[in-house]
């Protein structure tokens, strides 16, 4: 491809002319230039006005961190204040908020200089990128010592210390009241849980199923229909056995029942008769055969003995 020297030369001239005007002004402002002490935050605001189309290269900004042995850059924020009209045409104002911290322990009043830095702007166009550098100048502030260099002599070295601050005595009364109130609430809640779970004093005595069965037998003794009453009496004693064991006790389960509840062992024979009679009554020939095998007085005597063992247990 044939090179055309003229347009390139024109472009270079244009670029060179533009470069001078790209950064229009750099201005550093600080709230005050004096009255700083050891550890104070030193704030500054840098306004940079550039030609329209340029934007800040964030990578060119100083990194927060130690800047010198006595100076840290704590924070840096950038605000783009946008385009503004000036007499020389469209421009753009970028404002940097810098927060330094001073660690210089001064013995007398002296001026310190915060170093300057350069910030790069770039303009990306169709023909490529153009960069411009804004040089932020160094600026200084004055710091003051915290105390006299040579204080007046004291007898007691403790006197060099400032006296302790006085603290008002706190009234603990309301706290005690609050603690007491919440403790009693907790006890109430514990009582509720204990009642729900049947702990401690709320563990009521175990039900007395055989006692209930005996009571029912006494009621049934006066029933007119003796045959049906006998069946109900057998059922009542069955329910007593079931409730005592926590499961359904069949005739074949008697040895297991006696192993789990040894108190009833003396009545093993009578219990066997009862279960045999119940078998005859409900599953076999009928109630009449059962009554012949285990008459009512024997049944009631057994119920009484079972209830007595249950009370004693």
């Amino acid at each position: 491809m044939r090179v055309r020297p003229l347009p390139l030369a024109v472009l270079a001239l244009l670029w060179a002319g533009a470069a001078q005007a790209q950064v229009r002004s750099v201005e550093v402002r600080a709230p005050r230039a004096f009255g700083y002490f050891l550890g104070d935050l030193v704030r500054a605001q840098v306004d940079i006005v550039v030609d329209a189309g340029f934007s800040l290269q964030a990578a060119s900004l100083p990194q927060p961190g130690p800047q010198a042995y006595w100076l840290d850059l704590r924070d840096l924020r950038v605000a783009d204040l946008g385009p503004e009209k000036t007499s020389e045409g469209e421009a753009r104002r970028v404002r940097l908020f810098l927060t330094y911290q001073n660690f210089y322990a001064a013995l007398d009043v002296r001026a310190l200089e915060i170093p300057g830095f350069a910030v790069t702007f770039e303009n990306v166009g169709v023909h490529g990128a153009t960069t411009a550098t804004a040089q932020v100048p160094a600026w200084s502030f004055t710091i003051s010592p915290l105390r006299e260099v040579v204080p007046p002599t004291r007898e007691n070295p403790v006197d060099y210390m400032r006296p302790d601050g006085r603290v008002a005595a706190v009234d603990a009364g309301p706290l005690w009241w609050g603690a007491g109130g919440f403790a009693s609430l907790a006890l109430l809640a514990l009582a509720g849980v204990a009642r729900d779970r049947a702990w401690g004093p709320f563990r009521t005595r175990r039900g007395r199923p055989f006692g209930a069965a005996l009571a029912q037998l006494r009621r049934l003794r006066r029933a007119p229909d003796a045959e049906a009453a006998y069946g109900e009496a057998l059922l009542a004693l069955h329910r007593g056995l079931d409730a005592t064991d926590g499961r359904r006790v069949l005739a074949d389960d008697l040895p297991g029942f006696l192993a789990r509840h040894p108190a009833y062992r003396p009545d093993a024979g009578a219990l066997g008769n009862l279960l045999g009679a119940s078998r005859l009554a409900f599953f076999g020939p009928g109630l009449a055969a059962a009554r012949a095998a285990l008459p009512w007085p024997a049944l009631e005597a057994l119920a009484r003995r079972l209830a007595a063992i249950e009370r004693a247990a």
């Binding site: 057998l234 059922l235 069955h238 329910r239 079931d242 926590g246 499961r247 359904r248 006790v249 069949l250 005739a251 074949d252 119940s278 078998r279 009554a281 409900f282 599953f283 076999g284 020939p285």
Partner: protein, 343 residues
């Protein structure tokens, strides 16, 4: 048996025969008294039995012992992946004269006389074979060679091992439901039986062991008749009917019956199953147990004795719980019996 004797005496004679049968089998298979009792019940209830257990606990030996003591024709097949239903019915081969021949297979070979058909490792056979078994088990008949074969005395015994899952086919629910019992077999727990099984040379040679059993202790041809007599002879009172229906309801809807098992949502545990056929089987087996215990009426203990083996495999759990079936179902059965009032 002597038909002129009164029914009660006949039942008594048969009870003694059943005891002799149990004794003969338990002479060869030690430490499995419960399984032998259940098998006896199944024989007199005319039900098919599926034995389940680990490898080498004696499933096959037990069934062979029962088959020998029971008498009658006995056929045995081994389930394999490539077995087809026709393999049970036909046997095709080239005869010595070079012509193809078709002959009856294991099921038909002994025809009407067949009393025990023993299906080893049933879960290795394909579902096609299972469905042939369905009809054989439910109707005791089979259509082949353009005619219908009937097997009035047939009982199907099957076994499967619980360990292997590869190349096996789960039995369909319909097939499992047709088995009267699914008996779980475990190696005996007591030290004496274990010592004997391991050190007594008598138990090492299975064939000799089986041959040592008195053959034909029971007259297999008469068993269907005696089974009917038992079912009529043992009475079920209204109380036991209520009890069985209560058990059934509690098994199918444990949440509603007030059963609680820890860590299980009782309302979403049982998906279905526990068919009416299953409950009818339960009562049939319980009646046989009552007869074996020398009673003329059913009691709740009879139901309880056969319940896990008759009912457990008919309950279908929600898929979430199916993998834990082996622990959940026994707990559920126990809880059902602890909950439903007996008389």
């Amino acid at each position: 048996m002597n038909e002129t004797r009164p029914g009660d005496a006949m039942l008594t004679d048969w009870r003694q025969a059943a005891v002799r049968f149990e004794r003969a089998v338990s002479g060869a298979v030690v430490g499995q008294d419960r399984a032998i009792r259940l098998l006896t019940i199944a024989i007199f209830a005319r039900g098919h039995v599926l034995l389940e257990g680990d490898v080498g606990v004696g499933k096959t030996t037990l069934l062979r012992a029962v088959a020998r003591a029971l008498g009658g024709a006995y056929e045995r097949v081994e389930g394999t992946v490539d077995m087809m239903p026709t393999d049970l019915v036909y046997h095709t081969y080239l005869a010595e004269d070079g012509r193809p021949r078709v002959e009856p297979g294991p099921v038909l070979r002994r025809a009407e006389d067949l009393s025990i058909f023993f299906f080893n490792e049933i879960n290795r056979a394909r579902p096609q074979v299972h469905s042939l078994l369905l009809r054989l088990m439910a109707e005791r008949s089979l259509t082949a060679f353009n005619r219908e074969y009937r097997f009035p005395n047939l009982q199907v015994f099957a076994d499967r091992n619980r360990v292997e899952r590869e190349e096996t086919f789960e039995l369909p629910a319909a097939a499992r439901d047709r088995f009267l019992m699914e008996i779980g077999l475990e190696a005996p727990r007591d030290a004496e039986s274990r010592r004997a099984l391991v050190f007594d040379p008598r138990f090492h040679d299975t064939d000799a062991l089986i041959d040592g059993i008195a053959a034909d202790v029971l007259d297999h041809a008469a068993i269907p008749g005696i089974a009917r007599a038992i079912q009529h002879g043992v009475q079920a009172s209204p109380a036991i009917e209520t009890y069985v229906v209560g058990l059934w309801e509690a098994l199918v809807r444990p949440g509603g019956a007030g059963i609680r098992l820890s860590g299980i949502d009782m309302d979403a545990l049982v998906q279905g199953g526990a068919s009416p056929r299953g409950v009818a089987f339960l009562v049939r087996a319980a009646k046989v147990r009552a007869w074996l215990e020398n009673r003329t009426f059913l009691v709740p203990e009879d139901i309880r004795a056969v319940f896990p083996d008759v009912m457990a495999h008919r309950v279908f759990l929600e898929p979430v719980y199916e993998m834990r079936r082996a622990t959940i179902v026994p707990d559920l059965c126990r809880a059902v019996f602890d909950t439903v009032p007996a008389p």
